[in-house]
Amino acid sequence: MEKEQIYNLIDAFFHDELSKTEESILFTVLSENNEGKEYFKEMLKFSEVVKLTSDEVPENLDREILIRTVKFSTKKKRTKYQLSYLFAFLIAVLFIFASFFFYQKLQDYNREIKEVHKIVDYQNKVISLFINSLPAARVNETLQNEIIIKKNL
């Protein structure tokens, strides 16, 4: 096995990326390869020191994150409910306005019909007056123009 491959296997080993079979291959290779063995030791020391310099997440930060996510979750829920209430309220307001608008329209039509009715009544009366004011018709009983019927043979 090449040096590069051994180094990659060692790296993978320290990052828990090797399967059991690969691990056994690595240890077989290391038993025969001093350079690899040396690198393995160095990596072991290196990962120990890395662990030493690793910072732990403070408890208050854990708590803070938890509080913020819970807040976000409840706020989202509340917003969801608030939105549905708002939507229902808007619909109700819309219906109120619509019914008011149609009531007004109805009233307007009613008024217009009454006025038209009045005008028609008035015109009816005027027409009656005109008819009544006309002179009476005279009908003659006698025949004034003689009708002569000739035989045309």
């Binding site: 180094y7 990052h15 020391k45 310099t53 690793s54 997440v57 996510t69 979750s73």
Partner: protein
């Protein structure tokens, strides 16, 4: 992913527990300031909770979280104009609990100190790769996806950076 509120909380808990240490260490060591790193971590995980349903595949969650942390960190650098090579926070060394003898504790602290100094001296790209691999335990593929470089570049940067660090540490304990 379409999830119920309970499923969301469970998924969040699972990934928070698994990744919190990696994200925190990555942020602390990139920013060298625990308070700012805590803010980054809060923002990242709250954002994760908010967008948990928008992440299409569960396998992408890890990368999504670290990408989000990376964006936050680089955003802070852009805003503050600070160099990424600021001094690393070494409070972790103060809390070292190793070995039964005082000399072991001193040696461990010294090694840790050297490691942090050397990490601090690394270039921005190498430092990031080392942090993502050694502290966050990400795979080469994940690091490549997060940093936006080829996997071979990740491997080579990591190998060089780690060699430098190992050489420094080896000198001390040999």
């Amino acid at each position: 992913m379409k999830l119920s509120e309970n499923e969301k909380i469970l998924l969040f808990g699972k990934y928070y527990e698994a990744l919190k240490s990696g994200v925190y260490n990555y942020a602390v060591k990139m920013l060298s300031d625990k308070e700012t790193a805590s803010d980054v971590m809060q923002n990242v995980f709250v954002k994760f909770f908010e967008h948990i349903e928008n992440i299409r595949e569960e396998e992408k969650i890890k990368v999504w979280i670290f990408k989000s942390a990376r964006n936050e960190i680089y955003g802070i650098y852009r805003k503050s104009g600070n160099s990424i090579f600021s001094k690393l926070d070494k409070t972790a060394i103060e809390n070292i609990s190793v070995g039964g003898f005082p000399h072991e504790k001193v040696e461990a602290a010294e090694l840790a100190n050297i490691l942090l100094d050397e990490v601090n001296k690394l270039s921005e790209t190498s430092r990031e790769v080392i942090l993502l691999r050694e502290y966050a335990f990400l795979s080469y593929n994940e690091i490549a996806e997060i940093t936006g470089v080829e996997i071979n570049v990740v491997k080579s940067r990591l190998h060089k950076a780690r060699k430098k660090l190992i050489d420094k540490i080896s000198k001390l304990y040999r």
